[in-house]
């Protein structure tokens, strides 16, 4: 799986996960047809989500954000993530959960990922599908 940073490598966006950072042009990024997009600021961008649904782009939720923060910050991230998840799900967007771990300590097991997905608002069946099937569809063959 190729993960690209919008600012540095625009040419590698296709067939990859795109991380939407501060100051990136979202609609320019959509035109590059990435397979999945991460909303790193966790804000609900209704227009972007609509376009993502039309283009069948997956919304990727970063779980290391949740597990690595602490106290009030974690509560805030959990709240924003669950709101984003609810909205994306109501728009019938495919959602994937990934840790985006940079270090061993940021990883989590399948069981933990499943529980995190449920904590955010997914039911058992949806969480299993998001972690296995949707994630597999992101793999570059």
């Amino acid at each position: 799986m190729k993960i690209t940073n919008a600012k540095s490598r625009r040419e590698e966006i296709e067939d990859s996960i795109f991380i939407n950072g501060i100051g990136t042009d979202f609609f320019q990024m959509l035109s590059a047809n990435p397979k999945a997009i991460v909303f790193s600021d966790l804000r609900i961008n209704k227009k972007a989500i609509e376009q993502m649904r039309d283009k069948e782009i997956i919304l990727c939720i970063q779980t290391s954000n949740i597990s690595n923060s602490a106290d009030l910050q974690r509560s805030k991230i959990l709240y924003m993530t669950s709101k984003l998840f609810d909205y994306a799900r109501s728009m019938k967007l495919d959602i994937s959960f990934a840790s985006f771990a940079r270090r061993e300590h940021e990883l989590c097991s399948y069981m933990q990922m499943l529980e995190l997905a449920k904590l955010i608002g997914a039911n058992e069946e949806y969480a299993r599908r998001s972690i296995s099937e949707v994630n597999k569809s992101l793999m570059i063959k």
Partner: protein, 104 residues
């Protein structure tokens, strides 16, 4: 009186747990778990390390009702005694015997 239903979770630590400092580890581990799960949920979960499997693994017992909260609390523990760490839940079962079987 109804018997309390338990869940046994096989946990792996990212760092090795020294045999001589298990008491200290347990103190910091329970404190971190209490911080993550909250005081009210902690007494309901009643978590307890009942067995060390190897230098990194151990079996954590908790109440079935608070099983999910305990799993999430384990995910949220990233520091013990100011050292970076992580706990990965490998497996869970209703009995120790079944957990041992699943591990094999």
């Amino acid at each position: 009186m109804m018997r309390e239903k338990r869940r046994y979770i096989l946990v792996e630590s990212a760092n090795e747990i020294d045999e001589n400092s298990r008491k200290d580890f347990e103190f910091y581990f329970y404190s971190a778990l209490l911080h993550s799960i909250g005081e009210i949920n902690y007494f309901k979960a009643n978590p307890k390390i009942i067995k060390y499997v190897d230098r990194k693994g151990f079996v954590l017992k908790c109440n079935l009702v608070m099983y999910k909260e305990t799993l999430n609390a384990l995910t949220f523990i990233k520091q013990l005694n100011k050292k970076d760490t992580a706990f990965y839940t490998i497996n869970a079962s209703g009995t120790m015997k079944a957990l041992a079987k699943q591990k094999q």
